[in-house]
């Protein structure tokens, strides 16, 4: 069981709700994923399409909502979005995202730390999206982050855990749960992060844009479970030289 800020989760797969082809496909995929926590974004209501309401299909009793601050380019914008999310009755959890550059969508470490400090003081449970910087992870943890969410690779790139070396250090040092977020493009990537000891992964694009999002959600669920089980079972050490699996004795009759 995973515990973040006193709340327990059976599933270590968190799922995003963006980019799905329809609300029906999204709902089916989320159910197939087994996820208990889903991320959502906040946007202006489209007054020309008032019926386009994600809350009409998402059951808040079934899924715990983690509103994000996606679109914020600085701490002030992120704090404003977080407060709007809280006012919506969405609880006081927030996935803090501050991404000033729309080309890379890489998180701003200075603004993210400032926003974490402010939101923690305001009573939020803050899960900051961050670059895979071990020192920053410690700073965010010290500022009161309930978990840290280092990126595997940039958002939506499906490139996997390119930050493996840094993520390993973050996991080794963290006193709060580590959720690898962004860039997880295949179940094997999710399994890799879990084998390394990540507490959870957050996946959106890879499921949403799959040929069959429902089956892909199931595949991710299995990969996350397999990766976690392997981590708990204890992986054998990596070696640079071969070591025979078969006995090296009892071969005298050959020569």
């Amino acid at each position: 069981m995973l515990t973040i800020a006193g709340k327990t989760f059976r599933s270590r797969l968190f799922t995003g709700t963006g980019k799905f082809s329809s609300p029906r496909v999204m709902k089916e995929a989320l159910l197939a994923s087994g996820s208990e926590m889903v991320t959502v974004a906040l946007r202006r209501v489209d007054l020309h399409d008032p019926a386009d309401d994600i809350m009409a299909v998402l059951d808040r009793d079934r899924f715990f909502f983690l509103p994000n601050t996606a679109g914020a380019r600085n701490a002030a914008e992120a704090v404003r979005l977080a407060k709007l999310a809280r006012a919506s009755g969405g609880g006081n959890w927030v996935k803090l995202e501050v991404t000033p550059d729309p080309r890379t969508l890489l998180p701003d470490p200075v603004e993210t730390l400032a926003a974490t400090e402010e939101l923690v003081k305001a009573g939020f449970v803050v899960l900051p999206y961050m670059n895979a910087d071990p020192i920053l992870a410690l700073r965010l943890q010290d500022a009161g982050a309930a978990a840290v969410m280092p990126l595997g690779s940039p958002i939506g790139t499906n490139q996997g855990v390119l930050t493996r070396f840094q993520v390993a250090i973050i996991i080794e040092q963290a006193r709060v749960p580590v959720v690898v977020d962004a860039g997880i493009g295949a179940p094997s990537h999710a399994a890799e992060a879990m084998e390394m000891g990540a507490d959870a992964v957050l996946v959106n694009t890879a499921i949403a844009v799959a040929g069959d999002p429902v089956r892909m959600a199931q595949a991710f669920a299995k990969a996350v479970e397999a990766g976690r089980e392997a981590y708990e079972a204890g992986l054998g050490a990596r070696r640079t030289e071969a070591e025979a699996s078969s006995p090296q004795t009892g071969l005298d009759f050959l020569r």
Binding site: A41, R43, M55, P67, S88, A182
Partner: protein, 67 residues
Amino acid sequence: MITIFCNGESRRLDRVMSVEELMVSLGLNPETVVAELDGRILSRPEYAVTPLADGATLELIRFVGGG
């Protein structure tokens, strides 16, 4: 006739109405919409008792799919 600015567009109202009345007239479910009036976030109980004054700036926000 009063004019308000709602989600970046000017909108004429033929009478003073509350935030909740406006939401309903726009076909929105007030339970799933957050309102920010002149920069201040309203609590849900305020929707029905907060009138929209001439020149008010209202932002109506809600959850959408996101990662």
